[in-house]
C-alpha cells in the first residue's frame, strides 16, 4: 500500500498527489515515471514523477483526469492509499550543460517538463521555457516554471492569457532570431504538439527530445505493449525511453497505437460515471 499524504487541485481536472514511496523517491531522476494500480481490479498505468523528496520518502504525481482510472485516482484524498506503485521506471532524461535549452510543456505535460527544466537549470544551462494550454484556467505550474527558467512564455490557444497562439509560435520566433543560439529542445505534451515541435526544429537541426506516452502494462520490458518506432527500429518505450530523438520518432504510429482501446476506455469510463453519479462537464 502506498499512502497519499497530500492532495491538491491545480486546475480543472488537473490534480496533484503526494505519495509515500520511499524506495522510488530514493532512486528517482527527472524524466522517470511510475506504474500505478489503484485497487485489486484496477489497471496498471504509467504516470510521470513530477517531483521527489528522497529525505521525506515521497513522490509527487500530477495528472489530468481523462478516463476511468485517472478520475478514480482523483477522488482519493490524503490518508487514502493505492495498492501498487513501482518505479522509478524508464531512462532518466539526459541532463548536461548544453548551453541554451528550450523546455516546452503542453497541458499536463508541463508537470512533466518541470523537473527536467529544473535539473537543466541546476546543471548550468540557460533555460527558456514555453508552456501552453487551451485557456487561462488550464495553465498549471506557472510559478514553478518561472523559477525553473530564465525566461518563461505562457501561451493559450484562445488568447485568454499570455501569448495568443500555440507553443510552436514563440518557439519559431526564437528559432528565427539569429542572435539566439538554441542548443537543445525538450518537449513533453500531447502527440500533435510534440510532432509540431519536431517539425519546427528539424530544419535547424537542433537536437530535440520528446517523452513518449504509449500504452503500457508492466513497464519493465516484459510485454512490448509500449512499442514505438524510432529511426525505423522498434523500441520499448518503458525501458529504452520514454525520451527519444524527436526527429526520428514515428508519431503517426504512436497516435494510432494510442487508440487501440478507445472503445473499451470509453465504456469503462461511462460505467464508472454511472456508478459514481459523477457529473463532469467537458471543459
Amino acid at each position: 500500500m502506498f499512502k497519499i499524504l497530500k492532495h491538491a487541485i491545480l486546475g480543472p481536472q488537473v490534480k496533484q498527489l503526494v505519495f509515500e514511496a520511499p524506495a522510488v523517491a530514493r532512486k528517482r531522476k527527472p524524466g522517470q515515471f511510475v506504474i500505478l494500480r489503484i485497487n485489486e481490479s484496477g489497471e496498471r498505468f504509467p504516470l510521470t514523477i513530477a517531483d521527489a523528496d528522497p529525505k521525506a520518502g515521497t513522490i509527487t504525481i500530477i495528472f489530468q483526469e481523462v478516463g476511468k482510472s485517472t478520475f478514480q485516482l482523483g477522488t482519493l484524498k490524503a490518508g487514502d492509499a493505492v495498492l501498487d506503485i513501482v518505479g522509478p521506471l524508464g531512462k532518466p532524461t539526459e541532463i548536461e550543460k548544453f548551453g541554451h535549452v528550450i523546455c516546452m510543456g503542453g497541458g499536463v505535460g508541463v508537470a512533466e517538463i518541470y523537473p527536467v527544466a529544473m535539473a537543466l537549470r541546476e546543471a548550468g544551462n540557460e533555460v527558456t521555457a514555453i508552456i501552453g494550454a487551451r485557456s487561462k484556467d488550464l495553465v498549471i505550474l506557472e510559478e514553478q516554471m518561472r523559477r525553473a527558467s530564465h525566461k518563461l512564455w505562457v501561451t493559450t490557444d484562445d488568447g485568454s492569457y499570455g501569448y495568443h497562439g500555440l507553443v510552436t509560435d514563440p518557439l519559431k520566433e526564437i528559432l528565427n532570431d539569429t542572435n539566439k543560439k538554441v542548443d537543445r529542445v525538450f518537449c513533453i505534451g500531447p502527440v500533435p504538439m510534440m510532432r509540431a515541435v519536431a517539425e519546427a526544429t528539424r530544419p535547424y537541426g537542433i537536437p530535440t527530445i520528446v517523452s513518449l506516452n504509449p500504452i503500457m502494462v508492466d513497464g519493465t520490458g516484459m510485454c512490448g505493449a509500449c512499442r514505438v518506432e524510432v529511426g525505423g527500429e522498434t523500441k520499448f518505450a518503458c525501458v529504452d525511453g520514454p525520451d527519444f530523438d524527436a526527429h526520428q520518432v514515428n508519431f503517426d504510429l504512436l497516435m494510432k497505437r494510442l487508440t487501440i482501446y478507445k472503445d473499451q476506455e470509453k465504456l469503462s469510463w461511462e460505467l464508472w460515471k454511472q456508478q459514481h453519479g459523477k457529473c463532469t462537464k467537458k471543459s
Binding site: 524506495a23 522510488v24 532512486k27 494500480r37 481490479s41 484496477g42 489497471e43 496498471r44 476511468k68 482510472s69 495498492l83 501498487d84 506503485i85 513501482v86 518505479g87 522509478p88 521506471l89 502494462v217 508492466d218 519493465t220 520490458g221 516484459m222 510485454c223 512490448g224 505493449a225 512499442r227 518506432e229 522498434t234 525501458v239 504510429l253 494510432k256 497505437r257 487508440t259 487501440i260 482501446y261 473499451q264 476506455e265 465504456l267 469503462s268 460505467l271
Partner: protein, 462 residues
C-alpha cells in the same frame, strides 16, 4: 503373486469442450478418491523405480502411490511434500509425459501410470480437507537472504532457506507473486486460487514478500549485497521476441506476454468489472508451437474468436507444447496451420491488422536443436484474414538486472553462467537458477534449480 495388468489409465473427467470454450474454469476436473485408488492400484511398484530418475526433484513415486492405494491420502501428500512443496501446481503443469511417466515400466507396452494426476489428487485432497501443512522451521540462523523473482525457482529457494532458519526477503517486480504461474499460465490450466494457497505457505514460513520492487531499478544487486549475505536470482526469461517482419507494430499485434498478462494477471476476460481491457476479435492467429502459443490461442477462443488459428513452422511432431495441451486445443476447435510461417502482416488504412501473409514450409536436415529445420517453399505464399496476431515465438533474458550488475558473467546466449552443481554465479554470494540460466524451460526444472541453489546457499552461509 504377479499383478494383473490394467492397460489403460483411469481417465480424468474433463469439462466438455463445447462448454469450456465459453468459460475460464479449469479443464481437467481431477480424480475422485475412488479413481485415484484405482489408478494407484495399476502401479507395479517396481523395485528399481525408473520413474524416480525421471523426476527432476526425485519424488519417491512408488511410495506415494502405494499410500494412495492404501487410502492414506494425507500420508501420500506428505510423501510428495518431502521433495516438492508445490504439488498442486506441478501435478497440473509438469510435462510428465517427458519425465516420470516416460520412464514408467508400465508405459513400455501400455499406458503409463498417470503419476501427474495422482500428484494433483493428493495435493487437492489435502487442501480440501485442510490438512496442508506448514513445514517445520529450524532455529533462526540470523543470516539474511534476498531472493529476486517469485517464479517457481525463487519460490523454492525462499521456501527451502526459510525452513533452514534463514531470514528471507523475496523481491518481485510485478504486483503479484508466482512469475509465469501467475502472469503466463491461464486460469483454466492453473486456477489462481491453487497458486495462492500453495504460495501462502511462504508467508507462513516467515518469508518477507516485497512486490512492486524491480532489482536493477528500485535497488541494485550490489546494494542488496550490503544488506544480505546471499542472493538468489530467479528472474526468468521474460523478454518477448518479435519476428521482425513488416507490420508487427500494427494495432492488433501482441506479444504472447502482453496478451497473457492482460488476461491472466490483469483479468481482462472480466472487463469491464476489472479495468484492463482486451480488444475482442473474430479471427486470431497465434504464431508458435510451445505452451505459450497453446495458452494464448485457447484464451483467444474463450474470448469469443470465431476462428482461432495456430500457426507453426514445423510439424505436429516437433511442437514443444505438452501433448495434453495440444490435444485440448484440438478438442476446442483450434485450427492448426502446420508447416506455415508468417512473412508479413498487412494492415488497413487505420493501422489495424487485416491479413497475415504466410508461406508454406518443408522440413530439411536437423539443426542444432536436433529438430528438422523448416525451409520455405518458394511460391507458396498465401494470406489469411485475421484481426489479431499474437507472437509466441519465444523469450529471452530481460537486461534490466543483468546490465546493472557488474561482475555477473553471462553465457553466449545472454543468460547467467552458473556452476550446475551449486547454482553459484561468478559473483561471490550470488546464485541463480531457472529460466534466467537455462532459457525458457519448465516449472519443475526451475524448482529443481532452486532446490540445488538453496542447498549450496545454506552451505555458503555456514
Amino acid at each position: 503373486m504377479a499383478k494383473k495388468i490394467i492397460p489403460y489409465a483411469v481417465p480424468m473427467p474433463e469439462q466438455d469442450p463445447k462448454e469450456r470454450i465459453h468459460n475460464f474454469n479449469e479443464v481437467p476436473l481431477g480424480y475422485s478418491p475412488e479413481m485415484a485408488i484405482a489408478e494407484a492400484n495399476r502401479c507395479l511398484q517396481c523395485k528399481k523405480a525408473p520413474c524416480i530418475a525421471g523426476c527432476p526433484v526425485a519424488i519417491d513415486i512408488p511410495a506415494f502411490i502405494n499410500l494412495i492405494a492404501q487410502g492414506d491420502f494425507i500420508a501420500a501428500y506428505r510423501k510428495v511434500m518431502e521433495k516438492n512443496v508445490l504439488p498442486a501446481i506441478c501435478g497440473r503443469v509438469c510435462p510428465q509425459e517427458d519425465q516420470c511417466q516416460k520412464m514408467c515400466v508400465m508405459g513400455v507396452k501400455n499406458e503409463p501410470i498417470a503419476i501427474g494426476r495422482l500428484e494433483r489428487f493428493v495435493a487437492d485432497y489435502a487442501m480440501q480437507v485442510g490438512k496442508t501443512e506448514v513445514p517445520q522451521r529450524l532455529r533462526s540462523t540470523g543470516k539474511r537472504v534476498a531472493v529476486i523473482g517469485s517464479g517457481p525457482s525463487g519460490l523454492t529457494v525462499a521456501g527451502d532457506l526459510a525452513k533452514m532458519g534463514h531470514s528471507v526477503t523475496l523481491f518481485e517486480a510485478l504486483h503479484a507473486t508466482g512469475g509465469v504461474l501467475v502472469y503466463g499460465i491461464p486460469e483454466f490450466r492453473l486456477p489462481k486460487d491453487i497458486l495462492k494457497k500453495e504460495t501462502e505457505v511462504l508467508a507462513k514460513l516467515g518469508v518477507e514478500i516485497q512486490t512492486d520492487y524491480v532489482i536493477g531499478i528500485t535497488e541494485m544487486v550490489d546494494e542488496l549485497l550490503d544488506r544480505y549475505q546471499a542472493i538468489f536470482i530467479g528472474t526468468g526469461a521474460g523478454l518477448p521476441y518479435f519476428m521482425n517482419i513488416p507490420g508487427e507494430n500494427l494495432n492488433g499485434v501482441y506479444s504472447a506476454n502482453e496478451f497473457l498478462t492482460r488476461n491472466n494477471l490483469m483479468r481482462a476476460y472480466l472487463f469491464p468489472q476489472w479495468d484492463t481491457p482486451i480488444k475482442p476479435s473474430r479471427n486470431v492467429a497465434v504464431i508458435g508451437g510451445g505452451n505459450t502459443a497453446m495458452d494464448a490461442v485457447r484464451i483467444a477462443k474463450r474470448l469469443g474468436a470465431e476462428n482461432a488459428y495456430l500457426i507453426y513452422r514445423r510439424s505436429r511432431a516437433e511442437m514443444p507444447a505438452r501433448d495434453e495441451e495440444i490435444h485440448h486445443a484440438q478438442e476446442e476447435g483450434i485450427i492448426f496451420h502446420l508447416l506455415e510461417n508468417p512473412i508479413r502482416i498487412i494492415g488497413d488504412e487505420k493501422g489495424w491488422v487485416k491479413e497475415i501473409e504466410l508461406i508454406r514450409m518443408e522440413l530439411g536436415e536437423p539443426d542444432e536443436s536436433g529438430r528438422r529445420r523448416p525451409i520455405p517453399i518458394k511460391g507458396s505464399e498465401h494470406t489469411l484474414k485475421v484481426d489479431t496476431v499474437i507472437m509466441a515465438i519465444g523469450q529471452g533474458p530481460n537486461p534490466l538486472l543483468l546490465s546493472t550488475t557488474p561482475g555477473l558473467k553471462l553465457n553466449k546466449r545472454g543468460y547467467i553462467q552458473v556452476d550446475p552443481q551449486t547454482g553459484a554465479t561468478s559473483k561471490k554470494g550470488v546464485f541463480a537458477g531457472g529460466d534466467i540460466v537455462t532459457g525458457s524451460a519448465t516449472v519443475i526444472l526451475a524448482m529443481g534449480a532452486g532446490r540445488t541453489a538453496a542447498k549450496a546457499m545454506h552451505e555458503f552461509l555456514k
